[in-house]
């Protein structure tokens, strides 16, 4: 069966297997600190993927997505630290809060596009941040909500890591199905020309709400995973920078792909938490990296690697027709 696959497909399959293998073996290789960072990067990657579903596939760049994941996290935090509810109730309320925020955000933003969509979502994120500061009894204001324990079955760091890994891989697979579905294909049409989509018979306003809810679902999952990972939630989780970093992760890795945002998230999380130990001016380093990517790899690291791989294939006189060359047509395909 493997022989029937192209070299590119076999390399992708090999990398996916190696990634999953490394993911499973990670707790046996790395210490607690690194495993915590990998968990954080996986959650950040899922969050960036949900942003990319909106921005990379549907052409709807959002700067308020942390408002959705943060609302879910506050829902869990409130039920755990203020209401003393059980884990099922905590997660249920977290989902309800996150999806309600996604619905409200979606209804507010679905009639706008382009820069107006960015402005509306930015305002939405700021509203959530403002509420997190103001609603002291619910959110704990600047102090946030602390003492949020993990469920007993995943209390240890490595147990929670495996839970995160399974949930993120599952969500990645679901996102892969969504972007390759009839609806996912129509999202690319929405990104390319909303006018044409309307004239073909698509209710583009409804499409935007639908994709906002789907993206909101995955942002909600990332918010719930994050609050249990950290054990607390504070306004810093819902600030503008949190949403902006998600967008940057997607752009750095490769917008319009699912693997790109995950790679971008790993790079940023490790630069923020590891490089910063050795380099005091790490934000300068990060900024330089972004500039280099934007100037020399417009389709992100995944796009640059893909272009390099295709050039290498041509140089070795590989039969072009047998290899799916990455073009502007398939650059938006899934992982």
């Amino acid at each position: 069966m493997l022989r029937s696959l192209s070299l590119t497909a076999r390399v992708k399959l090999g990398l996916a297997a190696a990634g999953i293998g490394l993911g499973v073996a990670a707790p046996y290789i790395f210490d607690r600190f690194v495993i915590g960072l990998i968990s954080l990067a996986l959650i950040a990657g899922l969050f960036a993927q949900s942003i990319d579903l909106l921005g990379g596939y549907a052409g709807l760049i959002t700067l308020g997505h942390a408002g959705v994941s943060g609302t879910a996290a506050y829902g869990v935090g409130y039920m755990a630290s203020k209401a003393g509810a059980g884990f099922t109730a905590q997660i249920a309320v977290g989902f309800l809060a996150g999806m309600t925020a996604a619905l409200i955000f979606g209804v507010m933003a679905m009639r706008s596009d382009g820069v107006y969509f960015i402005m509306v979502t930015l305002a939405q994120g700021m509203i959530v941040w403002g509420l997190s500061i103001r609603l002291f009894r619910i959110t704990g204001a600047e102090n946030g909500l602390t003492g949020i324990p993990r469920p007993p079955a995943v209390e240890l760091y490595w147990q929670y890591y495996y839970l995160t890994l399974v949930v993120v891989v599952l969500c990645w697979a679901l996102l892969g199905i969504v972007v390759n579905s009839p609806f996912g294909t129509s999202l690319k049409g929405l990104r390319e020309s909303e006018t044409r989509m309307r004239m073909l018979g698509y209710n583009t306003t409804g499409q935007k709400l639908y994709v906002f809810l789907i993206a909101g679902f995955f942002a909600t999952v990332s918010g719930i995973l994050l609050v249990y990972l950290n054990g607390f939630i504070s306004p810093s989780t819902v600030i503008l920078a949190a949403s902006a970093i998600g967008v940057l992760e997607a752009i750095l890795g490769g917008i319009g792909t699912l693997v790109g945002p995950m790679i971008g998230a790993f790079i940023i999380v490790f630069v923020q938490n590891v490089v910063s130990i050795y380099v005091s001016r790490w934000p300068t380093l990060m900024g330089t990296l972004f500039i280099v990517v934007v100037l020399f790899a417009r389709r992100g690291l995944v796009g640059a690697i893909s272009d390099g791989w295709n050039k290498w294939l041509h140089r070795n006189d590989a039969p072009v027709s047998q290899e799916p060359v990455l073009t502007s047509s398939n650059r938006t395909a899934g992982p």
Binding site: S181, K188, Y210
Partner: protein, 251 residues
């Protein structure tokens, strides 16, 4: 005893104003099923505004538009498209980063419930494949099926513009200057393509090239400054002094 059949499109005394500018003034037309109409006139005559009013992109200030017997004066483009209206654009509106096949698959499923499906992969097989193949054959674009749209020539993009509208299987098709920007040879090809479309399909055409327009249709409406200055069959329009004065001299 004969029963009266409602026209597929009925524009009834439509006026469209943008602030102080009247783009369309008191225009009426009745298009029967299977008919071929041309709307011609010099630049700024109000042709495209009339198309936008029919498609729902612009709402009439006064007057009514009826499509398929229903009042669509306040309807939206997507609802009109769902009911069977197809439209092409003077300035190409395609999904440039996608392949021809992806463009047509988006169009083909536009009126199917499956367009909402997000839980299974898009399979271009069965009826979608048949429709894409049929449209590509009809528009002589089969060789470009897997080509990215941005890599197509302008002429091929104009053909795909029509193919996209046809893939939705419309009952009435509004063609907005399909030959715009084409060379003489390409214009002849485009004329042949439009002429070869099914006679079951009702066509309303805007075309700046009067000769092409008059060859393709059996009824012509001439606009100038938003008003109808002549209406009739191609021969009578060719012979009309007002049309020659207003339209032909401006060409």
């Amino acid at each position: 005893m004969t029963t009266a059949v409602a026209p597929i499109l009925h524009v009834d005394d439509v006026t469209v104003r943008f602030g102080g500018v009247t783009a369309v003034s008191g225009v009426s037309l009745q298009v029967e099923r299977g008919a071929r109409w041309a709307v011609i006139g010099p630049n700024g005559a109000g042709k495209t505004t009339l198309f936008k009013t029919i498609s729902g992109e612009v709402h009439p200030t006064t007057g009514r538009v009826h499509l398929f017997g229903a009042d669509t004066s306040r309807s939206t483009p997507y609802k009109n498209a769902q009911s069977g209206l197809g439209r092409t654009y003077q300035v190409t509106e395609l999904f440039q980063a996608l392949t021809v096949e992806e463009n047509l698959s988006i169009a083909a499923q536009a009126r199917a419930r499956s367009r909402f499906a997000c839980w299974r992969p898009l399979r271009i097989k069965g009826w979608i494949d048949e429709r894409i193949t049929s449209v590509l054959d009809q528009l002589h674009l089969s060789a470009e099926r897997h080509t990215v749209v941005s890599e197509l020539s302008h002429g091929e993009q104009r053909q795909l513009e029509i193919a996209l509208a046809l893939a939705t299987e419309p009952e009435i098709l509004l063609l907005d200057e399909p030959a715009a920007g084409l060379s003489a040879a390409e214009r002849r090809l485009m004329r042949d393509l439009v002429e070869g479309l099914s006679r079951d399909l009702t066509i309303v055409l805007i075309e700046h090239d009067m000769e092409i327009a008059l060859e393709l249709v059996d009824h012509v409406l001439v606009l100038d400054n938003g008003q109808v200055i002549a209406e009739g069959d191609p021969e009578s329009i060719r012979a009309d002094d007002r049309v020659q004065a207003v339209y032909l001299r401006s060409d």
